[in-house]
Symmetry: none
Subunit: 133 residues, 4 copies
Amino acid sequence: MQILIANQSSEPLYAQIARQIRQAVLRGELPPGEPMPSIRHLAGELRVSVITAKRAYDDLEGEGFLVTSPGRGTFVSQADSTRLREVALCQLEEQLSVAVDEAWALGISQEELLETVRTLYEEEEKRASNSIK
Amino acid sequence: MQILIANQSSEPLYAQIARQIRQAVLRGELPPGEPMPSIRHLAGELRVSVITAKRAYDDLEGEGFLVTSPGRGTFVSQADSTRLREVALCQLEEQLSVAVDEAWALGISQEELLETVRTLYEEEEKRASNSIK
Amino acid sequence: MQILIANQSSEPLYAQIARQIRQAVLRGELPPGEPMPSIRHLAGELRVSVITAKRAYDDLEGEGFLVTSPGRGTFVSQADSTRLREVALCQLEEQLSVAVDEAWALGISQEELLETVRTLYEEEEKRASNSIK
Amino acid sequence: MQILIANQSSEPLYAQIARQIRQAVLRGELPPGEPMPSIRHLAGELRVSVITAKRAYDDLEGEGFLVTSPGRGTFVSQADSTRLREVALCQLEEQLSVAVDEAWALGISQEELLETVRTLYEEEEKRASNSIK
DNA sequence: GTGGTCTAGACCACC
DNA sequence: GTGGTCTAGACCACG
């Protein structure tokens, strides 16, 4: 898989890494049981400190996305994917709620808002299909 | 106007204050030229330090929402509201874009997403009409 | 004479008043010996506090532009206008020096800078001739 | 780079610091991506409080000159330098406009004014070439 | 009374 | 080590 680090972003490095891995798992791109690269290897590839990579893995482990067996490495969890998805959905809804609140404050009509979301979704699909090619 | 502070939020206090004032201005609830409460007064009411209240006003001044004359107080800016609204719209689109990205990664269909947004928007309207009563 | 107060300006009220009176004296618009309006009268016209108007007169007195004889009022000074002009010239040169410094830092050539100043000067002349009509 | 602090100036400390860094960036002396000294280090060198140094960086970040990533440091922004230069030019023109207004009020002829500016510019060049040696 | 500046010091998150 | 937030408190300029 491909992880992109934006140095300019205000999102912490460890959060960027964790988010991208989390998405890949939920998307099924990283199937349960799949071995993850070692912390040191990942850190080297992404040019971040080992401690930062570890923090990302730790968080994902805490959320149930990864499991580490000492001495053997880190793997994508076999855990109940339904529960994981629910957690993610809940976070998404919170995120959307804030955005809708903002939109309402700006006096944007429901129609305009839905139209914007539709457009963004289609752009997202297009981008995805391009990156597959 | 009414400002609510959530101490347990991860959003900094000054950002919470600034955000709520920003929305009130964009919503037209605080008309141009309107005098704002003094930073000391605001700080007292919200139970935060004077510096924290000042930081919120400073940020809003930097964004063009407020103007302050030393010794006289702080006022809602007479500035070009079109420009301010554009900036806000731009930020909103960025926010939505991230959320849509998440939704796509979770495998949510366009229909589901639009339905969720519609529901959230209607809840928002209901909440607003209640707070008016 | 006409004094304009910009409430939005960062320049203090008393300084705006003092500056405009100073310019009027240097320009010869207010001849030596000319009686000035009383502090209370000026304050009333400009809608500022008496203390602010007094501060402006005090400063101008300190600089030698005005003289106050208690009980009779305030008048434009008969003082050596050459000295006053020199002080003003010195301040102007300081002001220009800062601007030129900035211009140099921006990599503006001498020709460009002189051209800009020339244009601004001509605009100033035009504005002045219009306000006379 | 070299930053000079004049404690007796009426210009606030943080503004002096910000101004000198801003000029260095616009002059290209501090290239995009360049790491800035940490606020603590800068504060120590300039003998000012950490907060004061931070305030300067904060302002420059708001203007788009710097970007900072928590935990990693502060860097010269990769931002569109054309836009930054335009803003600076705009501010300069405002500054010059005020000065020309003063000059006109003092009855200075266009020729005298241009001559003064020319002299100041040449002094500036001389000073710059000396500081290089 | 207002806001503006500067200070010291504490605690936290990130790398 | 880095920056981010919040605090209290002092002093000044403005109205």
